[in-house]
Symmetry: C2
Amino acid sequence: MGEAQVSLKHLFRVFTKPEHKDSKLAQIEEHLSDNILDFLSQHVVTKKTSLEEVEQDFADAVVPESPEFVSTHAENLLEKLVAHSVNTYSPTFIGHMTSALPYFHLSLAKLLVGLNQNLVKIETSKAFTPLERQVLGMMHNLVYEQDEPFYTQYLHSARHALGAFCSGGTVANITALWVARNKCLGPDGQFAGVARAGLASAYRHYGINNLGVLCSKRGHYSLSKAVDVLGIGRDNLVTLPCPEQVLDPELALKKGREYQEQGNRLLSIIGIGGTTETGHVDPLDELADVAKELGCWFHVDAAWGGATLFSKSYRGILKGIERADSVTIDAHKQMYVPMGAGMALFKNPEDANAVRHHAQYILREGSKDLGATTLEGSRNGMAMMVYSSLHIIGRRGYELLINQSIEKAKKYAAMIDALPDFELVTAPTLSILTYRVCPAKIQQCLSALPQKDAKKLNSQVDRLVVNVQKLQREAGKSFVSRTRLESPEYGAYPITVFRVVLANPLTNTRDLKAILEEQHAIAARNLVWQQLMANSQCEALHQA
Amino acid sequence: MGEAQVSLKHLFRVFTKPEHKDSKLAQIEEHLSDNILDFLSQHVVTKKTSLEEVEQDFADAVVPESPEFVSTHAENLLEKLVAHSVNTYSPTFIGHMTSALPYFHLSLAKLLVGLNQNLVKIETSKAFTPLERQVLGMMHNLVYEQDEPFYTQYLHSARHALGAFCSGGTVANITALWVARNKCLGPDGQFAGVARAGLASAYRHYGINNLGVLCSKRGHYSLSKAVDVLGIGRDNLVTLPCPEQVLDPELALKKGREYQEQGNRLLSIIGIGGTTETGHVDPLDELADVAKELGCWFHVDAAWGGATLFSKSYRGILKGIERADSVTIDAHKQMYVPMGAGMALFKNPEDANAVRHHAQYILREGSKDLGATTLEGSRNGMAMMVYSSLHIIGRRGYELLINQSIEKAKKYAAMIDALPDFELVTAPTLSILTYRVCPAKIQQCLSALPQKDAKKLNSQVDRLVVNVQKLQREAGKSFVSRTRLESPEYGAYPITVFRVVLANPLTNTRDLKAILEEQHAIAARNLVWQQLMANSQCEALHQA
């Protein structure tokens, strides 16, 4: 039953002979190539399947003893894996940052695996190394706009790096703060530097209690992971409240000063160039001033929003990013590259040397091996996907894509505003917005109630929002995500909201209208809706 | 000139309409699918091209303003990128750990990108999450061989993790030591733990000067990167000499005790399950005893050698690995999976909780989101490649592949031994070996010379080896790598050696013979060879 022969001869065939053109795997490929939307809508099942049911298909922890025929396996993949995957191409799946991708990536994926270069060193990646350096240079240029001689000097310099390519924004943020940390507590006459001596010795040498990083409460969770990994400690990630969704520069300055006055050193201020939750952009230019004033590193996490720089109409939103010491941008977000393409960019091409390392057999002194300054070691050639996208889409192409996403988000916000039973919670700066469903009557009531009562009522609305989000997801036609955040309207406590990312170019106004209608229908049928409508306080207010 | 239209309509086509079947990109795909060896040998140029020349093709740091036609771009990729890539499929490229891959990965690569799941959370990866957990479970089982109830309990438990999937061995090693560090300096009644309070506070609280990690000098460079990133400091990676290429347990115990007696705490001993440079395996079982004796964590870096566990004949070499607290294995090495598939496995499924983290919008308390205990955030579905390989190749298939690699290495070692002008430096434990070219006469002379003179002469042999390695690489027919290491024969100083990794199943004895012949021919023509042969000390010895 699908068991293949166990012989070296058979195995060699697996390495040297392609599957037959009529094989199941070849059919899958052809369907993907011809019409990926059709492939996904045909194979991804939309009916509700519980996670526990799916887990049944992946329950055996024993390595299969005997080989399985490729075609048998391909059938299994379709039934067990593809069927229960998430259809990221669907125009009504607007809950996360993954979306439809340009077609050419399907072919490039095959080329990437066929070449299987390892970018840690030139010996296993010859042309891919200069390619990756060029991609980093282009992205550096997009952010920092240095002149041609600058790039001529540094793009392919063995002693410099304009950035570090990595698997994603988390590693990019860790890399940036690693560089910052090693520079901040670097070697001097008496001290070998934190990279060699470690953090505790560095604190002793520099006479500091703690090292701290400051950002708003909307900072991505990767930042607290970064300070944990780097030994700084999560308690030293000072996260400031941001009722307006952005970091207040005055507050940042004040809190930064206070932190320093307690015998600590401030390592970095982090400005966010598009928060994951609401898409807001911190006032980067003013935060650059604050970082200068406090004498610390300035990092901008633009994993999501960085691609806005392609748009002449909207790049102004990120003004000040060019003053950052380091910037994180993910190409697998708004650059429509498959998962696995993050970048940390460094304003100063010398900075990456703070983490430079060597080995005997590779990364030798003076080599141009990329692995000498990256956190990861062996890496694949994902930079090719970014390279190709930059060429095939071009700056002007990206500009159109970015513009239409932002404009679509604004349109969606207007649609929400026009519906009495919905409340826009955060308007879009980029292409992310949050809102909730809440009966019009309850909205009026909430604004009239004393805060304590409003809070209680809001927690009931939270339940409604959670229910609607889950039921809509389970119905399988569309997907929005949810989060909890403080809104200016209801003061300090968080409320639950729908979160929408309008990244998919295939999403149109009709899709958005359908999503809102579905949400309203699910909500109106929900028990919590009835409970809300029967709220006695609101009834009383209504009658008054 | 290849400039495409800048319009949303054109861009939508890029997302929704595949390239024509006769297009350049479709041709590339077809060629790859039909005969990848032929594709590579046709498009990868073997003639010498300097890196500087290749860099000319990747010199512009400006994002292209206008879109390029996909077909024009595909031509460019072939000419600039593919032409100057490394042919990792070539059976005579035996210098690194990448090799030919099974055909089915080409198709799976396309499926992976088409699905574009993000494994950080279930919402964007539904079936991929249980699949990845199953893969981790299977690999855990391969190492730790727990019983069925164990896996039934932990495989899909929201509060446990059998491992962390990651982009490669470096991140796996960092993850393992991160977990170890956070457990070692964890919270107690008075202390919040290192994850929250940071490393300096932890040292103060626990009254230690430094935290240290101990391994042999053959430890992979990622380990020094790990202790740097984690704030421990590179000076606290205690690397012990290993003239026999493996860590001496008695020395480890002695040095570990000494380190502890200096007011330090030993975080971990690291055993290597196949060193990158020579393929040697530390005495893992005895090192497990040492770690127990010293009361520290025991990590095994089996990034390269872990797959040996598939072979009943050879898994005994890794005896003791099942006693490790954590193990690193790379599937993109001896499991023939494309680049980007590393794993850290944890003996105790509770341990990963030492790095658990949450966020409001994902990774919520109680969720099964994989991102809650991984260093990376957004990640692609590479686990599918491992899953498919485990099924299509199976344990018995891997066993055959592993066995033939090791046996091929032994055969190669015998061939070297039989050639008078070659010296085997380290015999293969797994499928890696090192050797050098050195005229027979000089070999005899070296063994007769006093150490100081031998050292001088050896540095001349080093030059010969470097020259031959470079010239052979430039000739383009074959590739071996080189490194420097201490050999038992010549005492404490390092010599330069060829390093060979016999991973490619397509490499046969004829290929190996040709490589040796080419090396001999290049060497005999080299000026350094003549200089060696004219060495007056050797002449005198010869005549005596």
